[in-house]
């Protein structure tokens, strides 16, 4: 049973624990207050009753001395008359004993008539009287005693040391103490309920706030949705206590894992691209050699052979086909060409001029920024090809009357270029096969689907890096090319 409780979700366990503690605390505090109030009440009853007894005893001396029974009765009866009925200190009854312990008068003469011996009353009185007699030497002003039903308070009726008798005031606990005690109890209970009414919702809210991130994170973890789990940490618990640090650590761990996975994916991707490239190059070489022979043969036939019209037509067809194959294969086979010249700022102006007709056709806004002011040691034709490919893709992808931005930055050791458009982004599926030859994303468009493949191969050859970033509805290809390394190469 206990184990089952501890297995409960924090969502329930924290509020239940909190509520349990609050209820127990409230109960303890209320009970101790009630107990204190009860004790005070009892104490004040004894004190006021003693003072009443003392006062009555003082007043009784002369009437008793003068044998004025009615006056004596009037005096003891006064605290019991109906007008004081609401007084909590109202005694149950009062009786006056003479020195021989006979009742002189009582507030209920029917019950305790004049002349009754104390020994004829309930045993408590005899006990009380005996106790008074024992302690009389100490000359207390009043004496008190209690049994389960009553309080007994006595005062000697004495004047100038001459004692006429004893006054006994009897308070019923049922009449005074218990109703007041229940009143106090109800009061205490009300206060307790109010405290609970305030504390329990606060506890519930606090428990909810504490448990919710934990619960959500564990839920996301179960669902293996790490992205969502990170969001939960950021939004739900922005504090820096231990829990906050724990969440932060967890978030760091998630990010690291995500980075690691991305890196692994990239490595796999690069390896695959390299393998594809290798395969393509091999196939291309194998095709290129016989292709060259076939084209030479056809050239020779065209130059020296005599063919009828039909044959000539067929040969021309074959030649065109072979040329297409050559082009395709040539495109696949991105060879490191001989370095012709360094890249100059003018090259970018040329590229801009080259793509401008396309830009105009789609009524695009072309933003062009270049801070390159020197010749850099990069192969101009390759860089130009990369930029043209990216720009044409961007123009193609951009919305009508959209924006295409090209930026070239000379960062001393690197040349950074990026091309951005506001067109539709790539799906994760598409991104997975982004730089592969004949990739599916090019199938709908024009071209042979080799643009990005060629671009990738060139960038690889130049020892650089090409990345895709997508955010704010913008698609950006950025190319970073090292300058120093190339120089040394």
């Amino acid at each position: 049973m206990m184990k089952r409780f501890f297995d409960l979700s924090l969502r329930y366990k924290i509020p239940i624990w909190g509520s349990f503690l609050i209820v127990v605390t409230t109960l303890l505090v209320s009970l101790s207050l009630v107990y204190k109030a009860y004790d005070d009440l009892r104490e004040s009853l004894l004190v006021t009753s003693a003072s009443l007894a003392h006062r009555l005893a003082d007043d009784l001396f002369h009437p008793l001395m003068e044998d004025d029974l009615w006056r004596a009765f009037d005096i003891i009866n006064a605290p019991l008359v109906a007008s004081h009925a609401k007084d909590i200190q109202k005694p149950r009854f009062i009786l006056v004993l003479d020195n021989e312990l006979n009742v002189v008068t009582s507030t209920d003469p029917m019950l305790i008539p004049m002349g009754t011996q104390v020994s004829q009353l309930t045993p408590e009185y005899s006990m009380f009287v005996q106790r008074i007699a024992e302690s009389r030497k100490e000359s207390h002003p009043t004496y008190d005693m209690q049994d389960e039903k009553n309080f007994y308070i006595a005062a000697p009726i004495v004047h100038d040391g001459f004692t006429l008798g004893t006054l006994i005031v009897v308070h019923a606990k049922d009449d005074i103490l218990w109703p007041r005690f229940f009143q106090i109890l109800i009061h205490g209970a009300t206060m307790g309920v109010i405290a609970l009414a305030i504390l329990l919702p606060v506890n519930w809210y606090w428990a909810h706030r504490t448990a919710r991130p934990l619960v959500l994170i564990s839920q996301r973890m179960r669902e293996n949705d790490l992205e969502a789990a990170t969001e939960v940490v950021d939004q739900l618990y922005p504090y820096h206590d231990e829990l906050g640090e724990l969440f932060a650590a967890y978030k760091r761990m998630l990010i690291e894992q995500k980075d690691k996975e991305a890196l692994e994916r990239q490595v796999v991707h690069s390896e695959r691209l390299a393998a594809v490239g290798h395969l393509a190059a091999g196939v291309a070489h194998e095709i290129n050699n016989p292709l060259g022979g076939m084209l030479t043969a056809i050239d020779t036939l065209n130059a020296y052979g005599t063919m009828d019209a039909r044959t000539a037509k067929t040969v021309a067809l074959i030649q065109r086909g072979l040329k297409q194959i050559k082009e395709t294969v040539g495109a696949l086979l991105v060879e490191a060409r001989v370095r012709n010249r360094d890249l100059e700022p003018q090259d970018f102006e040329d590229v801009r001029a080259l793509v401008f007709p396309q830009v105009q056709k789609k009524e695009l806004q072309l933003q062009w920024n270049s801070n390159l002011a020197r010749a850099v040691p990069l192969q101009a034709n390759q860089v130009r090809q990369v930029l043209i490919n990216l720009l044409l893709n961007a123009i193609h992808a951009a919305n009508c009357r959209g924006v295409v931005e090209c930026r070239v930055e000379d960062q001393q050791s690197h040349l950074v270029m990026w091309v951005e458009n506001d067109g539709k982004g790539f799906t994760p599926e598409q991104r997975l096969h982004l730089f592969e030859p004949f990739s599916p994303l090019s199938k709908t468009g024009q071209g042979h689907g080799l643009g990005l493949w060629v671009t990738y191969q060139i960038v690889q050859q130049l020892g650089g890096k090409i990345d895709l970033q997508q955010n704010d509805g913008r698609v950006r290809f950025s190319v970073t090319l090292p300058l120093e390394e190339n120089k040394s190469a």
């Binding site: 009615w70 209920d108 029917m110």
Partner: protein, 296 residues
């Protein structure tokens, strides 16, 4: 007073002008005192028995007398005036409504002014009451050894009657009861018997009849077992030292109260039909009873 003035004279004798002034004062003072005699209030003793300690009624009666007599009236009530002729004479009251008339000792010092009529008769009686719960006594003889309550120790009414009856029955009136106590008020006699403080008591019939109507809860707990013989109602008497004019005026006023609407209203509250001149013979029985008890 004169001593005081002489002392003052000694103090001031050095200043002649003051001395002259003082002489004038000394000459004027007795004159002032004489003149003040008429300005002094008429003092009337009112027993709490007759008006049952109804302080509103007592004050209304005082105000009524004051306005009709055109003279300041001071009502002397319970605590200061003990309802007796002797008390009136000693306290130098002008008039009193007493319950022990005629007192042989002061018979010649007072005049009977008026007597109230209770239910048409100038007489009253007392009831012997017992508690319904604590005793089953049906006659005075069965109350031997009981605790007995009287309103007061006056030689009249219940106190006189009960003791006279005991004497006639051959008992010692002072030893018959185990204990006797006095409540000062007839209402409290009923209360004491109802509460069981006393087994029996003697209460004035007029006051009992009122209480049956006004406090039935109290009177229900009490049983009347006998009624005394009648005796003369409390008398309104005048001190010989009182101004004869005032005495005449008061007598006329009292006797005419039942013809005056305001007076009639007051009489109704006093449960008195009217005041009549009264007759000394009405009180003969009381005198005999007192004599028998050796109190005259």
């Amino acid at each position: 007073m004169e001593d005081l003035n002489k002392n003052a004279l000694v103090l001031l004798v050095c200043k002649r002008t003051w001395a002259a002034l003082l002489l004038v004062c000394l000459w004027v003072l007795p004159l002032g005192a004489q003149a003040n005699l008429h300005l002094l209030p008429i003092r009337i003793g009112i027993p709490h028995k007759t008006l049952a300690l109804d302080y509103f009624l007592i004050d209304d009666f005082r105000v009524y007398l004051e306005s009709r007599m055109n003279h300041q009236v001071e009502a002397v009530v319970h605590g200061l005036f003990n309802n007796s002729t002797a008390e009136m004479v000693r306290s130098k009251l002008d008039f009193a409504w007493v319950i022990d008339h005629p007192d042989s000792q002061f018979k010649d010092l007072v005049d009977l002014l008026a007597v109230p009529l209770y239910e048409g008769k100038p007489e009253a009686s007392s009831y012997l009451i017992v508690s319904k719960r604590s005793t089953h006594a049906a006659s005075l003889g069965q109350l031997r050894g009981a605790v007995f309550a009287f309103a007061n120790r006056q030689p009249e009414g219940g106190y006189l009657d009960v003791r006279y009856q005991l004497l006639m029955a051959g008992e010692n009136p002072e030893r018959f009861f185990k204990r006797v106590f006095f409540t000062r008020s007839h209402k409290d006699v009923v209360k004491a018997v109802a509460l069981g403080l006393a087994h029996g008591g003697a209460v004035d019939s007029v006051i009992w009849d009122q209480m049956v109507k006004t406090q039935p809860k109290l009177t229900d707990q009490v049983q009347v077992i006998s009624r005394s013989a009648t005796y003369g109602a409390p008398a309104f008497i005048a001190n010989h030292k009182a101004d004869p004019d005032d005495a005449r005026k008061l007598q006329q006023l009292l006797l005419g109260m039942d013809k005056d609407p305001q007076g009639k209203e007051l009489l109704k509250r006093m449960h008195v039909d009217a005041f009549v001149p009264g007759d000394a013979r009405m009180y003969e029985r009381q005198v005999q009873m007192r004599r028998a008890l050796g109190e005259e």
